[in-house]
């Protein structure tokens, strides 16, 4: 997971950051005499979320008057801090997001701790798994809190459509992993929900980027709902999942081979194995697959919604 998903994702994020900074800063990006502190200021200033959007250029312009290597780096890190942390006081509409994020963090952590306590597995996952889990929670919470920095009407609308679509999509993903007949098709409904949320948000906001924004919210909410839903079902009805004969045989044949040629399962019981397996599925799908899928689907929906709005404008124009 770390090699295939996390490292490419982080590298992609870094490249995207540089490309975005290059677009924002313009020709000055390639100017001579740019040191590391300048690069950091350029990156940070391109990430500042503010209405009106003049604060990023203000930071870059001010940086020219900062003298001394230490002072320049200090200024640069200050700009980075401003870009990454919330700058506004929590208003009424942000309190809802903060509440949802707090609930999500508490519930996900509680479910994970419950699994660790009731199904102790020394060899399954271990510290690496816990580190990934904490990292995904922190990144998800940061994205949500940063997303609610925007206070424009279009952003609020995108957030609302994204939240509604996220709850629906998350519920569909949970249904998709149950042993019910034809349940796997529910995943398609979940993706459709993200497309619909993106289309509606971009249509309301007049910009396909609102669709991407709605997709991000769908991803965060649906991923959390999926994690909570799957782990709750696993704990409350662990026997429900034993319909999967492959899982049963994998449990019996998994583990180190003894000197007598027998294989020993690494888990104390089948329930522990099952919990750990579903926990890994919940982590991967909830915090990686669902958000990435939803952002893509939101972008598709955003393009659809923006084009429909444009054609609507063309038809209503002459009236």
């Amino acid at each position: 997971v770390i090699v295939v998903v996390i490292i490419p994702f982080l590298l992609g994020a870094v490249v995207w950051g540089f490309i975005r900074a290059g677009h924002t800063v313009g020709p000055a990006w390639r100017g001579s005499g740019r040191d590391g502190a300048w690069t950091l200021v350029a990156l940070a200033s391109s990430w500042v979320l503010a209405d009106p959007p003049g604060w990023g250029p203000a930071m870059r312009a001010e940086f020219g008057s900062v003298e001394g290597r230490a002072a320049r780096w200090q200024f640069a890190f200050g700009c980075l801090r401003t870009a990454l942390l919330p700058t506004r006081r929590i208003g009424a509409h942000r309190r809802f997001v903060v509440g949802v994020v707090t609930c999500g963090l508490v519930v996900c952590t509680a479910l994970e701790v419950y699994g660790r306590v009731h199904y102790p597995t020394e060899t399954a996952g271990g510290a690496g798994y816990s580190a990934l889990f904490v990292m995904f929670l922190v990144v998800g919470a940061w994205l949500a809190l940063r997303g609610c920095q925007r206070s424009s009407v279009e952003s609020t609308v995108a957030r609302r459509y994204g939240t509604a679509g996220g709850v629906a999509a998350g519920a569909m993903y949970v249904v998709a992993v149950t042993p019910l007949h034809g349940a796997e098709y529910a995943a398609l409904l979940g993706v459709s929900g993200a497309i619909a949320a993106g289309a509606l948000a971009s249509r309301a906001g007049g910009d396909y980027r609102r669709g991407v924004q709605a997709g991000l919210w769908v991803g965060l909410i649906s991923g959390t709902v999926f994690f909570v839903g799957l782990m709750t079902l696993t704990y409350t009805a662990a026997g429900w999942w034993t319909h999967d004969s492959e899982a049963v045989s994998a449990f019996n044949n998994f583990g180190p081979v003894t000197e007598h040629g027998h294989q020993l399962a690494q888990w104390p019981g089948f329930a522990a194995y099952l919990v750990r397996r579903e926990s890994a599925v919940a982590l991967l799908v909830g915090f990686i697959v669902a958000p990435i899928l939803a952002i893509g689907a939101g972008a598709v929906g955003g393009a659809i919604g923006a084009s429909r709005q444009q054609s609507g404008r063309l038809t209503t124009g002459p009236e």
Binding site: A28, G54, W55, A58, A61, G78, T82, R89
Partner: protein
């Protein structure tokens, strides 16, 4: 419904520094040096003040050749009122703190 609350000590410093010369447009970095705030604290404060329309910002006209125009800041009339409101409790608190010392001093 908006609540009125006392600004943080850092925000108060910025308000008071700017209220000292209300007509003068100030540079962000110079202001930060004056009040002893780093950019990571100063910019969020300036953003919040601008959000609440206590601060107005403008771009520098005719910047020196080869240097980008810098952002300039000045308090609005509401900002000046806020600075005055910050100053009053500060004076009152300082007075209240000094009073017991006088009493103790005169008693001994």
């Amino acid at each position: 419904m908006s609540r009125s609350r006392m600004p943080s000590p850092q925000t108060s410093k910025v308000l008071l520094a700017m209220a000292g010369q209300p007509a003068v447009w100030r540079y962000g970095y110079d202001l930060g040096v004056e009040v002893g705030l780093k950019s990571g604290s100063l910019y969020p404060i300036l953003m919040r003040l601008a959000d609440r329309e206590l601060l107005e910002a403008a771009w520098e006209e005719n910047p020196p050749l080869g240097r980008p125009a810098r952002h300039l800041y000045r308090l609005t009339p509401q900002g000046l009122s806020a600075a005055a409101a910050v100053q009053k409790p500060a004076v009152r608190t300082a007075g209240a703190r000094r009073q017991p010392r006088f009493q103790t001093g005169s008693a001994t």
